[in-house]
Amino acid sequence: MKSNLNSAIRFLLVEDDEDHADLIRRAILGATADVVIDSVGDGEEALAHLMQTKPHEGAKRPDVILLDINLPKLNGHQVLQKIKQSNALADIPVIMLTTSQSELDRDRALMNDADSFVSKPTNEEEFSQLIAHLSKYWATMGMA
């Protein structure tokens, strides 16, 4: 684990909906100030960022990936699959984000070793829950 208690936690948010990305970013920042959030808009870009390929040559490795399922080009499931197949990336926790309540999405995500699966929050309370989720990961990571 690259992160440590002293340095900020680095998120990679993969979200095509700009509004959603903004809302999630706000939610995370509202919960804690000690984070860095990198955002990308589709699956291909997410992989480019993670693998530090063009045009993301200098991209930083995230501590947590927040991955939307409905993405243009490569969808969230495909991105997750590639992450988990990569030795270098497989141990980065991935939290799947979805607006649907589809069980299929949930099953497919968990089968691909997603670490968690959350619905996109639509109100303050749900955002709190999301943050609680994220905190749990931080704790986990901290213990690791």
């Binding site: 095509d16 607006t99 649907s100 589809s102």
Partner: protein, 800 residues
């Protein structure tokens, strides 16, 4: 001198002379004694026994004369035989009758003649006994009397000769008869004695040489078959009693030890008192006859047995309706005994009209000498019911080759005709059921040859059922498929159990799916004689099933996409509303306009999505109206509109319309154009001054392609199919709803076509929409309108 006239009975006289068999025989002492005695008694030098033949007189005995005969016309005796008494001529030279006779005028110069006629008991005078002298003289009374007595003695000798001769004849004839006959002769001379006389043939019939065994009653009894003894002796007794002729058949033991059949006949001779004294008769070998008779009897019995055991009615008739013979079944039908019918007229037993008809048929058969088969007649049954009879009539030749009788064989076909009728009915019913069944039904022999196929089968494969008979699957299907069928048939035959299976069969080169049950059909012995099958076409069902599954998936995908794409703006709206309300509470108004505009965009996106979804769902539900539509104005107006909406005046448009008119619902065409042209503007021309080509192409079978070609960044091959899915977008933007291409594809499918991204050379993308004839879909009916209406409606195409 005139010759003596012939006696009136000359013919009988000459016959009698012949019967004596004396002419030209050697001298005999008995006759010579008579002539010698005559010479002495009459004291003459010459005495003759002269027999007057046809032309001569011949001397059986002569004394004093050398000639053995003289001509009849010179004979003195010719006169003598005319009378009964002694003729005496004292001096021949002076007698009128003899004086010119050469025997008088010349040597031996006869002068005296005295002759006594030799007259038989039956009256014919055969000649004379005469005495002659060379000198004239006379005869006294005593001498005449002596001459007469001597003549009588000569007659007795002649008479004896005749009797002997007759007896010889008789004896010879008897001998000939006894020897010549095939019968054995027996003579039981004295019925008091044991001894009998048997002819040589008698012995030989029994295999013996004459006299090899004793000819006696006891021998006969010994040879007689034990079973025949009683009958034979009863017959003998009856013959003695005079109550019956002796005519009996019995077996005698042949020398070989075998018994042979003989027919014994005999006659009883009686004494003056009528008492039997002698019995004689014959035996005849009738072994062959008995065998032939027995064989004939056996044949008769065999024939009778056969006749009486066949159920058909059999009559033998002559050409005049007389029943010569018939079998028991025929007699039973007449309610009579066989014996009561034989020899009687047919019309006694049948109605006159029927009998007359029978007679006509009989005559036809006899006249032609050819059988007449299958004559249908009506008879009355035992209970007055009408019976249907099938009769065959066959002529029969007699020994002379004439057809003088016939046999009629009549079979009651009432029941079988009725059964056949019922069978036909039941077959027809079954056939109707099988032929009207929507399934393919067939039966094949275990060797694979077709026994039966129903109408559905013949219709399906366009094969005549008569063609199929005796054909196998190898004559009908490709070898691989025929092999598969055959293997399953064999399995059914082997397992003796029905087999349920789903199979694919090519019909007119297109695979059809069948749910088939194959089952064994058993014969009366429980052996599998055929394999039957009922195959139900489930292709549509399967297609419907697959379609349903596809629709289900589509629906699932729709629900998923809808829930995401509809919910996604909601997340935005609710999220910012939440921020807005908190900022308002905090009095922090800085970000509110941004939040509001985000909320507005999200809400509008949601509205567009809902509109498009509604449009997509309407496609399958609203009836379409197909007309001939001019492409050019529709395309041009769509371009103009989309350009304004997008604010892209910079794009260069080219039209390549090979096809100008299209049969389509104008609304559908508009959807296609709006979406493809809109997409080309949004995604295909990222740079200023891009170019887009809109065109149409003609394809075979009245199919048409519409295409929109841009020269933008293009779409990666792996995404070309995905973009037609609902809510699938390649760009991370909010410009499209992700429903447009789904609508285009759906419309194309409604016209039996497709919507695809075609591979192109160089940069850019070409969307191709191929359209065929409108397809009827379960969701909505489409009608093709033709004629004047088309041009009218063209003006009312909604554009914009």
């Amino acid at each position: 001198m005139p010759a003596a006239p012939h006696p009136v009975n000359e013919a009988e006289r000459l016959q009698k002379l012949t019967d004596c068999r004396i002419l030209d025989t050697e001298p005999e002492p008995a006759f010579d004694d008579i002539t010698a005695l005559a010479c002495r008694l009459c004291d003459t030098p010459i005495a003759l026994i002269s027999l007057v033949d046809t032309d001569r007189q011949w001397f059986k005995s002569r004394v004093g004369l050398d000639a053995i005969q003289t001509p009849r016309d010179q004979a003195f005796c010719g006169y003598t035989i005319l009378g009964d008494d002694v003729l005496v001529i004292d001096d021949a030279s002076r007698d009128e009758r003899t004086r010119d006779n050469p025997l008088v005028t010349g040597p031996p110069h006869i002068r005296f003649y005295a002759g006594a006629p030799l007259r038989m008991d039956s009256g014919e005078a055969l000649g004379t006994l005469c005495v002659i002298d060379y000198v004239p003289r006379t005869m006294n009374e005593r001498q005449c009397e002596d001459l007469t007595r001597l003549a009588r003695q000569a007659v007795r000798l002649l008479q004896g000769r005749i009797e002997t001769s007759m007896l010889d004849d008789l004896s010879e004839r008897l001998k000939l008869a006894v020897e010549g006959t095939n019968d054995g002769i027996w003579d039981w001379k004295n019925i008091e004695a044991d001894e009998e006389w048997w002819s040589p043939k008698f012995y030989r019939l029994l295999g013996y040489e004459p006299n090899e065994i004793d000819s006696s009653v006891s021998t006969f009894k010994d040879l007689l078959h034990p079973d025949d003894v009683q009958r034979t002796w009863r017959a003998v007794k009856a013959a003695f009693d005079g109550t019956a002729r002796f005519d009996v058949r019995y077996r005698l033991r042949h020398k070989s030890g075998e018994y042979r059949w003989f027919q014994g006949r005999g006659r009883v001779f009686r004494d003056a008192d009528g008492q039997p004294v002698r019995m004689a008769g014959s035996i005849r070998d009738v072994q062959n006859l008995v065998e032939v008779e027995n064989a004939a009897k056996m044949r008769e019995r065999e024939l009778r047995l056969i006749l009486d055991s066949v159920p058909s009615l059999i009559y033998f008739k002559d050409g005049n309706n007389k029943i010569l013979n018939l079998n028991k079944a025929a007699a039973d039908a007449m309610k009579c005994e066989v014996a009561d019918v034989i020899g009687r007229q047919s019309e006694l037993f049948f109605p006159a009209d029927d009998a007359a008809t029978f007679l006509l048929d009989d005559r036809e058969v006899l006249d032609s000498g050819k059988p007449k088969l299958g004559i249908i007649e009506h008879h009355e049954g035992a209970h007055g019911e009408r019976l249907l009879i099938r009769t065959d009539k066959l002529p029969i030749q007699n020994e002379d080759g004439e057809y003088d009788r016939l046999v009629a064989i009549a079979t009651d076909i009432t029941a079988i005709t009725e059964a056949q009728r019922k069978l036909r009915e039941s077959e027809n019913q079954l056939k109707a059921i099988l032929d009207n069944a929507p399934s393919v039904i067939f039966a094949k022999r275990i060797d694979g040859r077709y026994l039966f196929v129903n109408q559905e089968y013949t219709k399906l494969f366009g094969l005549d059922s008569s063609y199929l008979r005796d054909k196998t699957d190898f004559d009908i299907f490709p070898t691989e498929i025929a092999k598969r069928f055959r293997a399953m048939d064999e399995q059914v035959t082997r397992m003796r159990m029905p087999l349920h299976l789903e199979e694919s069969v090519p019909v007119n080169d297109a695979p059809r799916h069948y749910l088939t049950v194959k089952f064994p059909m058993f014969d009366a012995n429980g052996e599998v004689m055929a394999v039957g099958g009922v195959a139900t076409d489930i292709t549509e069902l399967k297609g419907a099933h697959a379609e349903l599954e596809r629709k289900n998936r589509e629906l699932e995908s729709f629900v998923y996409s809808a829930s995401h794409d509809l919910k996604s703006p909601l997340v935005t709206i609710l999220g910012y509303l939440s921020h807005m309300s908190r900022d308002l509470e905090d009095g922090n108004l800085e970000e509110l306009p941004d939040f509001a505009s985000r909320i507005k965009r999200a809400a509008e996106r949601m509205r567009r999505s809902i509109d498009d979804l509604l449009e997509l769902s309407r496609l399958g539900q609203v009836d379409s109206e197909v007309t001939q539509v001019d492409l050019k104005p529709v395309i041009n107006e769509t371009i103009a509109q989309e350009v304004v909406v997008a604010g892209r005046e910079d794009i260069c448009w080219e039209l390549e319309l090979t096809v100008e008119k299209l049969a389509i619902d104008p609304t559908h065409l508009l959807h296609i154009c709006q979406n493809l042209i809109g997409n080309a503007i949004r995604y295909g021309t990222p740079d200023n001054n891009g170019k887009v080509i809109v065109g149409s192409r003609s394809l075979p079978n009245q199919r048409v392609q519409l295409f929109v070609r841009d020269f933008g960044p293009g779409i990666a091959p792996e995404h070309r199919e995905k973009i037609f899915g609902l809510f699938q977008r390649l760009e991370n933007d909010k410009k499209g709803t992700g429903v447009g291409l789904a609508i285009v594809r759906k419309i194309a499918e409604m016209y039996g076509g497709s919507a695809t991204v075609a591979p192109v050379t160089g940069e850019g993308t070409e969307f191709v929409v191929e359209l065929g004839m409108p397809q009827r879909s379960s969701a909505g009916a489409m009608e093709v309108e033709q004629g004047e209406k088309q041009s009218e409606q063209r003006d009312s195409i909604p554009v914009g």
